[in-house]
Symmetry: C2
Subunit: 193 residues, 2 copies
DNA sequence: ATATGAGTAGACCAGTCTGTCTAGTGATTC
DNA sequence: GAATCACTAGACAGACTGGTCTACTCATAT
C-alpha cells in the first residue's frame, strides 16, 4: 500500500506534535515510533514543515467531523448542542482526557509568527471552526434563544478565544477547573437572552 | 560588576524567549547576542531551565509593576482603570507593539506540561495577576459599577483566559482585531451591571 | 604578600537536529 | 522481458544542542 506509510507518519506525527509540540518533536522520533526509515519520510514530504501542514490538516479534518456530528444535530436546541459540544471537547482535550490541549492553539503560538506556510492553514482552520459555531448561534437567535442584537460571528470568536485561553490556564493549573469555569460563565452569564 | 552579566543574560534571554519561544532559543544564541562566554552562563545558572525560571520571574516582576501602576490609581473609576490597563497591554503586546504575545501564555503551552520546575512559577504568576484584576473588580462591585452577584475572582479568571485566547487568535490572524474584539465584548457586554 | 573564591573565557563533548545521497526493491507497463 | 516508477532503506552530512571542563583574571581579605 503506497499510502499506508504516509498515513502512519501523519498519525504518529499528530500524536507526538500534539503531545510535545512541533519544535520538540523530531523527525527521527516519529520515524522510530512508526518504524519507518528516513528515506520514506522525505519521499512523502519535502520538509518537516510540509509534514506539519499535513498533520494540521488531518487534525482540522478530525475536528470538523466532531463539530459536524455534535453541532449539526438539529433535533437538539442550538444552545444545548453548543454546550454538549464544548463538554465533548472538554472530555477529549481536558487534563483528564488522553491528550491535553488544542493542537491549533499550541501550534499557533509556536509557529504562526514564524512560518508563512503554516500560518494560513491555522488561519483557515480557525475560520472554519469559528463559522461552525457562529452558525449554531445564528440558529439560537432565530429560535429566540438569544437576543436579536447578538452578533453570531463576533460572539463565536469570543467563545473560541475563551476556550483556548481556558485550555492554557488549565495546563498551568494542571486541572480541568478553568474549563469548567469557562462552561459555567459562557452558558450561565454570556449566552443569556 | 558581579551582577551585570547575570542581568544582561536575563535581559537578552527574556527578549529572545519572548520572541522565539523557549525551545527555539538556544543558550549559544543568547550568549552570542549578549557577548558573554559560556562559562559565565553556567556559572550563574545551573541549567537552561533554571535560567528560564529567572527570565519568567523577571517578566512577572515587570508585569506586576504595570498592573500596580495602572490598576492602583484609585483616582480613576475601577472599570475605567481596567479598560486602560488592557488597552496598555494591547499597545504593548499586540501586533503593532514591539513584541507580540504574552510570555506567560507562550511558555505555559510550551513547558507547563513537561517542566515541574517552571510550572509552579507560571502558576504563581498567573495567580498574582488574577488576584490583581479580581481586586479591581471587587472595587467595582463596592462602588456599584458591577452587580453584587458578580464573582470577582472567577470573573477575573474568565477575563484573563479571554485575553490569552485573543492573543493566540491575533497571532493566527496577524492582526490586532481579535484584541479589539476582546475589549469591545468585555466592556460593552460582559462587565455591565 | 599571599590565599581565596567569584566570575570570565572558550575549547570541547556527546548527542541530536533536519535534510541528502545512493542503493535497492517490487510492482506495473509496454 | 526490459524499462520505468513509486517507494523503501539507512548511512551520512553538517550544523547545532545543552552542558562540562580546565585555565585564567582579578578583587578582596587576611
Amino acid at each position: 500500500m503506497a499510502h499506508k506509510t504516509r498515513e502512519q507518519l501523519i498519525e504518529v506525527g499528530l500524536q507526538r506534535i500534539h503531545a510535545a509540540g512541533y519544535g520538540a518533536t523530531g523527525v527521527n522520533e516519529i520515524l522510530q515510533l512508526a518504524d519507518i526509515p528516513k528515506g520514506s519520510f522525505y519521499h512523502h514530504f519535502p520538509s518537516k514543515e510540509a509534514f506539519a501542514e499535513a498533520v494540521l490538516e488531518r487534525y482540522g479534518a478530525g475536528e470538523k467531523a466532531r463539530w459536524e456530528r455534535l453541532l449539526g444535530d438539529k433535533s437538539i436546541a442550538p444552545l444545548k448542542r453548543l454546550r454538549l459540544y464544548f463538554e465533548d471537547l472538554m472530555a477529549t482535550y481536558g487534563r483528564t482526557g488522553p491528550i491535553s490541549g488544542c493542537l491549533l492553539g499550541n501550534m499557533a503560538l509556536e509557529v504562526a509568527d514564524h512560518s508563512d506556510k503554516l500560518q494560513p492553514v491555522l488561519q483557515g482552520t480557525f475560520s472554519a471552526w469559528n463559522e461552525a459555531i457562529a452558525e449554531v448561534l445564528r440558529e439560537a437567535v432565530a429560535k429566540g434563544e438569544l437576543d436579536h442584537s447578538a452578533k453570531p460571528k463576533e460572539l463565536a470568536a469570543f467563545l473560541l478565544n475563551n476556550w483556548e485561553g481556558a485550555l492554557i490556564r488549565s495546563k498551568v493549573e494542571r486541572s480541568d477547573q478553568p474549563l469548567e469555569l469557562f462552561l459555567h460563565f459562557t452558558f450561565k452569564a454570556l449566552l443569556k437572552k
